[in-house]
Subunit: 638 residues, 2 copies
Amino acid sequence: MPQVIFNPGGVKIDVPAGSLIQEAARKAGVEIGMPCGGQGRCGRCAVIVESGPVRRRSTIRLSAADVQTGYALSCQTVVDGDAVVTVPPQEKIERRLTSDKSAAQVTLPFPYDYARDQTVRTFYIRVDPPSYADNTDDFARLARALKSQHSIENAQATLGTLQQLSAALRAADWDVTAVVEMSNWFSPDGPPRLITVLPGYVETTWGVAIDIGTTSNVVYLVNLETGDVVDTAADYNGQVTRGEDVISRIIYAGKNGGLSELQSLVVGTLNRLIERMCRRQHIEPTDIHKAVVAGNTTMMHLFLQLPPEVIRKSPFVPTINHVPPLVARTVGLKVHPEATLDCLPGVASYVGSDITAGVVASGLDHTGVLTMFIDIGTNGEIVLGDGSWLISCACSAGPAFEGAGVRFGMRATAGAIEEVWIDQQTLEPTIRVIGNEKPRGICGSGLISLLSEMFVTGVIDKGGNFHVTAGHPRIRPGEHGGEYVVAWGGETADGRDLVITKVDVDNLLRAKAAIYAGFSVLAQSVGLSLADVQDFIIAGAFGQYLNIEKAIQIGLLPDMPWERYKFLGNTSVLGAYMALLSSRAREQIAEAARKLTYLELSADNSFYDQFTSALFLPHTDITKFPSVQEALTVKEPA
Amino acid sequence: MPQVIFNPGGVKIDVPAGSLIQEAARKAGVEIGMPCGGQGRCGRCAVIVESGPVRRRSTIRLSAADVQTGYALSCQTVVDGDAVVTVPPQEKIERRLTSDKSAAQVTLPFPYDYARDQTVRTFYIRVDPPSYADNTDDFARLARALKSQHSIENAQATLGTLQQLSAALRAADWDVTAVVEMSNWFSPDGPPRLITVLPGYVETTWGVAIDIGTTSNVVYLVNLETGDVVDTAADYNGQVTRGEDVISRIIYAGKNGGLSELQSLVVGTLNRLIERMCRRQHIEPTDIHKAVVAGNTTMMHLFLQLPPEVIRKSPFVPTINHVPPLVARTVGLKVHPEATLDCLPGVASYVGSDITAGVVASGLDHTGVLTMFIDIGTNGEIVLGDGSWLISCACSAGPAFEGAGVRFGMRATAGAIEEVWIDQQTLEPTIRVIGNEKPRGICGSGLISLLSEMFVTGVIDKGGNFHVTAGHPRIRPGEHGGEYVVAWGGETADGRDLVITKVDVDNLLRAKAAIYAGFSVLAQSVGLSLADVQDFIIAGAFGQYLNIEKAIQIGLLPDMPWERYKFLGNTSVLGAYMALLSSRAREQIAEAARKLTYLELSADNSFYDQFTSALFLPHTDITKFPSVQEALTVKEPA
């Protein structure tokens, strides 16, 4: 078998001839990011083949000079013999999930009553020890005590619980606290299920509320007795290097072993977050007896190892929206193995339980006021309604605002330009960089800011074309159209001019047009106009960095009074937290899932027209954006 | 780490210093039988240490000469450095489970109606393919079709079923047969559970009825549509080399890794039996959608990886008698992973579901006639009653009749003496050997026959003492009392004199006394006498080889008219077969489990008296055995 040596580090691995460099790297434990999921589209998994026979199936995004130098896409290049490969430094995923609230900031929108609302509860019992005269088996003995001391009838248990039971009862000398799942969404009237027995009298048990985002995972650790969030933790989804968006992940899942790898990666991330909080709070992960999970439908399929291919194929139907009640053991979540695992219900392939949870967390399901809700994450999902009715759609905006498809795009980590101001007279930019470092790229809020400033100052016109004839040194012709130099090489981290190109602008225009068209089509589909919307809820971590004025100026958000906009942060995890505590909140989410009508934009005739109209800054029809029109008028010479 | 080399074969293995030879052998894959489960009691795991530093913790059953030669008990000897060990030929477990009925011989004691009786059924459905207008998820779509086309409401599914669902529906172009568990014992009214979908129209599905015996495992393959047994298979329980009786197994399970090893061993045996039948019948193991299991409580605990220690400790209370509904995946049974797995309910630690199944299979639960039921296997369980009431006990007879604790005892395989006649005048024996080979030992039926003949001919007296003063060459003093030479060295397989000793006779007397005392105490406990018993059912494979006359002569069975005895063979697997087909039969077994009163003999004051009285041939009180008294009188010189 050919041996591949990965540098730096000199890691050696034997692989069958014909293996992809990517496969060899995975086997060797060498990390190579694959934002497009191994489709050979993004070019970011390029490595340098120093020696050895390889075959490049595709060299897209590599120049002839690159290939000459030895560059090859690791997802598209197979090794035919011993090879030496150098892996360039990978984009470091730095932790800057400061958008997470501190535990104390999380508030529940309803009063919590443990005994009334909670389905997983503790019951202290004294079990009669067995004797020759009373040789009832251990489980029946315990069930008898639950019935006589707490009127809990017909209790059942999984095999995993039974395997631990006899030793636990004896170790505690028959004096135990039973942790019981009284009901679940599928069986609201029981039967109750014994999760475990703990020695002696135990008052508190624990739960976790989980949001599985495509990019970020967030977990709240909750005291189920008081209902308090005692800790929160967040990290990038371990799947990120296997595709930046859901489509790339689905493609990766289709590769041999890809699905189970993605499942392990996300569960690994969640387990690390849970362990981290447990260490901080001095509890054991096995003290956690309930987990509630929200996430988009693709993330939920990957978490449950349900093949996600169907989500990507017309007519885009998932395997299941209302996932049956599970126990943690089934997916390998490192809480108590028999803990309740409740995956919240979604609506459709592109409107998942992150949205249904968000709808309930934001109160949209009973607002009474015409409200638009958008969750801007890696995907953009939109809901419109007043609670008595709700209609939703998903915009395939792509992760442009997370930096994908933009030459110097990057996530909001150290070195990212997060805000730009351009002087109207000199066209010189002023930038703010995360971490006050030399700039390495531009993150989503920086891109919106930059686009808006370039438009307002005339660097680009409403079609997104660069005004290269202006004779300004920063506005110059580029490879595929004009470009604007945001930072000269002398000021940047890698010494290269940091630019935004015509291609970048076009990608950003498409992304914002897709979202705006989503708003328009939703309103139109129910015979309303965007002006009728009274409340505009922006959910998702990204929303908190969004500058409303700039977002309106580029036509991403509709032009309406700013006070109508509300930023709620991560409503997905908030909804999961509510469902963790209350079976009624859980039922509200299921009700929202049933009530939400899903509009498939790709099947809607008017979508393409709306999209095309929105491909301008701010829009073909400037009268839809009176505040922008006014601003432009003021700035034009009289 | 010390290296141990096992001969013959020269298998090498590195183990930490201080490891038992047994552990090294297991790691090296070298089979060493351990009938006592590694307690250092039986002496059968002896090996020869050719070289190397070892420490013998115990040398019980080894003579000083043996130790001088290098013999050591592999379960009691640790290696302290490199060693070379020779493993003597191990007792070969040969297949002679001829007591199994052929498939065609198995008859069901009730008419079977698939649609009425069976809980796992097939439903052909045409599912509406999804479209933009109808984007219901796959599972809800299937559930909708089950409801509209077969009135099956509220269907649920396990995650394992869902993981396969989307691909299966599309591969079959939405034209499928759903295999549905309509109900189970815990939820007789549902909800129904989808097991799988099969492409197109499928009429037949399959089930297996399983009896997990301590020594032998038996599986019936059943066509669930017709109810016919289409094949049967049997083999020794793969755990046999880890202990011959349940106590030895429990002890072995307590060793590090022992429980999971025993679980794998028995599941491995069952999987091989299932595969063998599937190959013969040209079906796939995954075509089997239901499995029903009967077995004694220890076997059930080991099968389910429930720690069995509690069964062995006073007051002998198991973890669970009524095992919850499971799916095959949980234990690794190689049928369809989501197949129904129903473990039948037992009564107590020493009266398991092999007995409750047997009670129903034999009709004892509604006979109306005072009946004694005994299942003689590795254990002896007894039930007395007329169906309106039932009382049971277990005799710790030990596996003496399976050859354990008897110097030349062996299982009923080739080379075993299965019947003996002793000439009244010459005291010379005539023997019948299984396979017509040179004798290697004596099996259970041979031991009963021999004991009876020795007693009737006066080779031994009623106390089991050898008449060594008779001056007969075959009756001679042995190491621990007298012995009788059943076959001279010149006639035997290994050239050694094949004898039965005083120690052997004492062991056999204890075994038969325990059983007879069980009969007596049961009858006494309800104020009846053994003479009141109208029917006497003998279950278990061994029963079929039992010679009633001889068994009465040694006082194993009560002296009653022979026509009252009925041999039913393996009623455990028959009961499992009935439960596999009919939920009503399944409920009858649960009802029998609830109805059966368990009498713990070790806690019964009269048991010891009864046991002591029965330690004679046939009994202290010869008047209880009039037919034996008469036979002896006839033979005594007038």
